[in-house]
Amino acid sequence: MDSLKIKATKCTPEVTFNAENNILEIKGDSYPENITDFFSSVFTWLEEYLGELKNQVFTINIELNYFNSSSSKLLLDIFERLEEEVEKFDKKIIVNWIYDAEHDNIEEYGEEFKEDLNSLTFNLVQK
């Protein structure tokens, strides 16, 4: 699977996938005018990748400083899609929600996602 690299802008995160270690990173801010446009390429990539994913561990590191309410909805859509893969095909997927110690708002958002997920490994990781 090819690597993925979307550069950050002032209001969209950097999205990178490293095919050597199977780590997807989402980093920065997320509050574009139209979030669906931004995430559609990520979703397309993700679907293709999940189709190819076998036994290896797929890790997603999310380190966001700020995201708006529509990004929050899109993030949940991603997590639910991943959870489906875990539940149906027993895939090994880990999400690390990375936050700054000073940033209790981001930590809380992470906790709330975690509360809404069942089978997906969702770790809250302090930087």
Partner: protein, 187 residues
């Protein structure tokens, strides 16, 4: 006009208003204004949590205007086909500080037909406790798209959750088609 401007500025200052904008809004403008507001609050030594919350309120309220304002400059067919010019939404954004709290006050025109639904929705949020708001937020986030709402209508719930007191709003009837919608959130 020339000497009135100083009186206008003085009146804003007296009301604790340190940022005020009225006119066409864009995502680019939002990004730059948001950055400046964060900078200003850092200089005032506001806590990082307060800065985060105010920034969040500013983004949600401004994007609300961008998406839903009924006052729009529309491109002509030629402009949109040949130069790919998009429409521009207008509204007012005010950011200030009063009685130890920062606030974001914004206003935009809306179509009269959505007033009742919007009012009901906001009254519902005004009467919810923080715990109820959290549950409602999660419920709405799980549900798909909500008609013409771009973010499952999550923006208002997010605002209500962040605000230190219930959100305040008003609708002023302007004519047979439009009302002016005002929303205030405090942190």
């Amino acid at each position: 006009m020339l000497n009135n401007l100083y009186h206008f500025k003085k009146e804003l200052n007296e009301r604790g208003i340190f940022f005020c904008f009225s006119g066409p809004l864009s995502q680019d403008l939002l990004v730059e204004i948001g950055g400046t507001l964060k900078h200003k609050m850092k200089l005032e030594e506001a806590s990082s949590s307060t800065i985060f919350k105010l920034f969040s309120m500013f983004v949600e309220q401004t994007q609300n205007i961008i998406h839903y304002s009924a006052e729009k400059c529309q491109p002509s067919r030629e402009q949109s086909e040949e130069a790919e010019l998009l429409s521009l939404s207008s509204g007012i954004i005010v950011v200030g500080y009063e009685s130890d709290h920062y606030y974001v006050l914004c206003g935009n025109m809306v179509e009269n037909e959505i007033v009742d639904t919007l009012r009901e929705k906001l009254i519902l949020l005004q009467n919810m406790s923080k715990e109820e708001l959290k549950r409602y937020y999660k419920e709405q986030r799980r549900q798909g798209k909500n008609g013409n709402s771009q973010g499952a209508g999550l923006g208002f719930i997010e605002l209500a959750r962040k605000a230190v007191k219930p959100i305040e709003f008003d609708f002023q009837n302007i004519n047979e088609n439009n009302s002016f919608f005002t929303l205030k959130t405090e942190i």
